[in-house]
Amino acid sequence: MLKVDNEFIEQLKVGKDFNASACLNCGSCTALCPLDIELLPRRLFRYVLMGAKKKVLENTNSIYSCMLCKMCEDNCPAEVHIVENVRSLRSYINRNVYRLEKDSPVKKSRSKINHANTYK
């Protein structure tokens, strides 16, 4: 049972920083990933969209394994910003799980880096 964690969705700014709702589940990304990671990015993104925090955090290694090579994104028929999405997941984990940037002056407000828009 995966519970939709609304707080997680809010923290991740799903739909803004993390934007993958346009995903059609075609699987092109998975097929093209040079890492052969089954989870990345289609299913991982689906977990994020559905606010399945536990599943997302179980897959930290996959999230940090991505090379951001953009092979998937360039071939995504739904034009999902896959690379920025992965970065925003790392950013979320760095801030909220590893607490690497707890001294951050921007810890309360969201980072000025607007992930979803970086490549628009």
């Binding site: 930290t60 090379m67 090579c69 970065r87 950013s91 590893y98 000025k112 880096i113 490549y119």
Partner: protein
Amino acid sequence: MPIPINDTLGIFADNIRIRKSVLPIAERKVTDWTKGLKIPAGGDTILYTGQMYQLVPIINSMSHQMAKYENSWITKYFGIGRWLNRFINLSAFMAHSDPIEQAAYDGKLRNITLLLRSAGIEFGYLYEKDFYSGALAYDEGLDQAVETQANLVYQTLKSANVKRLITVDPHTTKMMRTVFPKIIPEFNIKVQSYLEVLADRKIKPLKQIDLDVTIHDSCIYARHEGMIEPPRLLLRQIGIRIQEAELSGKITQCCGGPLESLFPTKATNIAKKRIVELSDCAGEIVTMCPLCMANLKRVSPGRKITIRDISDYLVQSYCPTTSKNPGKGKKID
């Protein structure tokens, strides 16, 4: 135990905050390459290295260490390492770059300097203020560290009245050209890779080279920055025949380099796959990113292949031969 992501990234973040680079190196190592080139300090147009070429020998040495740590008992102590690193620059202790290698990578920057001069471009250099761009921190999602670094770099450029930057590698190009303006809305400095500058300037070859090469496009140049044609144009002009690998240009395959710090074994596996794809094509392999070069070279021993930086070819044709060609540096092949 794999390398702990948490503590490793913590060290990167701390380093940026305290020492203005993910892997802080001595100023001397950043600027050594300029010896004898008499590049003016400052100016409107600046050659900006972002320390990438200079860093590679150190990263190489680090990765060698990290690969040893991966799945070893030491990984348990990374937490202590991070704590310690706040007071002592651990990377300086851990990584001792090979001076021959260092000189070879410095040589690429000397090549680039000569090329820009042959194209008639006037430019300066910021020397000790040629800061790291924060590329790795950006990729790893260390947003606060990136913001700090971006502001430092921008303030430095602004106070030096810089109008235009010529970058030498894909990572710094992307950071300066695409990422910084998102973080700093007023960032209005024109950023171009030296390959784009040379191609724009219509630099004329002085000599033809009879050679087949296979291009390994950098993911960042080809897909993130859409820069595919300039290196091909510059090589074609000097008579070099370009052999395209099955995956090249827009669909180039990654060298595995981005995994170097956290997943060294995976990085090696990806590099092995890529080097096989590239060797299937006739010719020497040409790279345009120091990280690609380092990662592909790491898996090349035992294979009959030559990997060279694009500037090594360009300098041979576009620059006049001098008795003391600083471009050559020391041979690393």
